[in-house]
């Protein structure tokens, strides 16, 4: 109980700090960079619930993210729905897709599951590309609503993302410390043994894919207002798939803090590289860092820290 209360307090503190930062009106660039990094915190955390805890590697992250974004686009086009509705709807539609891939796990394990999610992403992207209402392959400009509740719109979006990140991390932390998280670890280690030890594996997998899908969709929902222009290639960018996987790996997949560290480190490194050195070098560095990490620090930064402490 003390833990939960503590988490809640920390969470509220972070949100408050986020709002304070928003109020301070520090350099606007930081909001943009911060938004992207926080978005990756949500994505990495969401991915890790299924991939890190449950051991099911989802290559289809872009599909979930884009589904959230495009659900928002549809609602904006249709009724100019307010942001909370977009978040909820984006999350729910993605959660539904998550539930769908959850049933795939009935038959598909390991790399087969990963490939199925990849295929899913391609099929979904083709559908979006051929749907004119959301701009098809030409993309669509989205006008931001005038008059955000406070600050300018980007500051507002940043604050929303702070709250989403805190929410996602809280959910992940809750799952990790409950019987659900322990059950997921058991099925990651050995699904058959877990089932035979009384773990309701199917229900846990469905839960994990749905929650993971929901969070990925929520991360995508504000995207149209952030970029103001949505087109399939950037909404379904392979970057999301790679980062969703790489960030938890770099941070450490066994704990909620791992994806957060990974997202903050890799996300800021990428932001920095974009505005300092060439992007080619940026990608190159991501490649080298990835290889170096998995070879030299297989348990991520968390593992490194643990090793340094001699545990």
């Amino acid at each position: 109980m003390r833990h939960t209360a503590g988490t809640l307090l920390v969470g509220l503190a972070v949100v408050a700090a986020g709002i304070a930062v928003a109020m301070l009106r520090v350099n606007p660039y930081l909001y943009f960079a911060g938004y992207v990094i926080l978005q990756y915190v949500v994505i990495a955390t969401a991915w890790n619930i299924l991939g890190g805890y449950g051991g099911y590697v989802n290559f289809g992250t872009p599909a979930f993210f884009a589904l959230g974004a495009y659900t928002a686009v549809v609602l904006i086009q249709w009724i100019r729905a307010p942001l909370p509705v977009l978040l909820l709807a984006g999350g729910l539609v993605s959660a539904l897709l998550g539930l769908g891939i959850g049933y795939l796990t009935l038959r598909l394990r390991g790399v087969f599951f990963s490939i199925a999610t990849l295929a899913l992403s391609i099929v979904l992207q083709t559908m979006i590309m051929n749907w004119d209402y959301v701009g098809g392959s030409r993309g669509l400009s989205v006008l931001r609503p005038s008059g955000p509740p406070f600050g300018n719109y980007v500051v507002f979006l940043f604050t929303v993302m702070v709250a989403l990140a805190v929410g996602a991390v809280t959910v992940a932390r809750f799952i990790e410390r409950s019987w659900i998280g322990r059950g997921l670890s058991a099925l990651r280690d050995n699904e058959e043994a877990a089932e035979c030890m009384g773990v309701p594996t199917l229900r846990l997998k469905l839960f994990a894919t749905t929650v993971s899908g929901f969070l990925l969709g929520v991360a995508g929902a504000p995207f149209p207002y952030y970029v103001t222009f949505v087109e399939p290639n950037s909404a379904f960018a392979i970057d999301y798939a790679v980062n969703a996987l790489a960030m938890p790996m770099i941070g450490g997949t066994t704990s909620w803090i791992g994806p957060v560290i990974g997202a903050v480190l890799l996300g800021s490194a990428q932001q920095l590289a974009t505005v300092t050195i060439s992007s080619e070098m940026n990608l190159f560095i991501v490649g080298v860092v990835l290889v170096a990490f998995v070879v030299l620090a297989p348990e991520g930064i968390l593992g490194l820290v643990r090793r340094l402490r001699g545990r």
Partner: protein, 238 residues
Amino acid sequence: MAGALLEVDGLTKRFGGFMALNRVTIHVNPGERFGLIGPNGSGKTTLINCVSGSLPADGGRIVFEGHDITSMPAHRRTRLGIVRSFQIPKPFRSMTVLENLGIPLENAAHGRAAEGAGAMEILGTIGLASKAHLRPAGLTQIEMRKLELARAMAARPKLLISDEAMAGLSSAEVDDILTILFRLSAQGITIIMIEHIMRAVMRFSERIVVLDAGERIAEGTPDEIGRNPAVEKAYLGE
């Protein structure tokens, strides 16, 4: 047969065109020490996979304590009290020995015991208490087998299915495991032992069923089985 703990009735299982189990019927009574033997590929493991729920049956019926469990998912059978160990140990590698026991305690034992005490108690009786905080990678072969049994016990079984828990162990180690199984039996747990080590099965079982090529070919006390010519033929060929 009224009063049986487990009734397997006309169980059939096919893999493609291959008939792995052909209308097999066995009954296991409460508290019994039951042996299941047969040559390689005779269908023993398939049978217990069907009983524990790892594989769906193609025909026949499985009844446990009067409930038809034929199409029940494995984890619910475990919760009812059918618990198995694996021939090749399948520990949860990312967890310590103690945490390994936590999974069944939390998921199958209906929270009947507080996690720490219950798990430590089991580890104590089985002789793994000193390894409680190690990961499975740090265990020896015999310790792995013991962990497998300990984890099964943590699920508070009414029926324990021990799948070749002694294969590859030394004679002293076999005795060690046998002692543990006898003690469990004394606590009132029904045990099905699948084993290749004849000495162990013969000593342990009150009743034995022999499978060959997916069919039940014999049933009886260890003595009767030992003298059965059909069994000898199945094992030695012609």
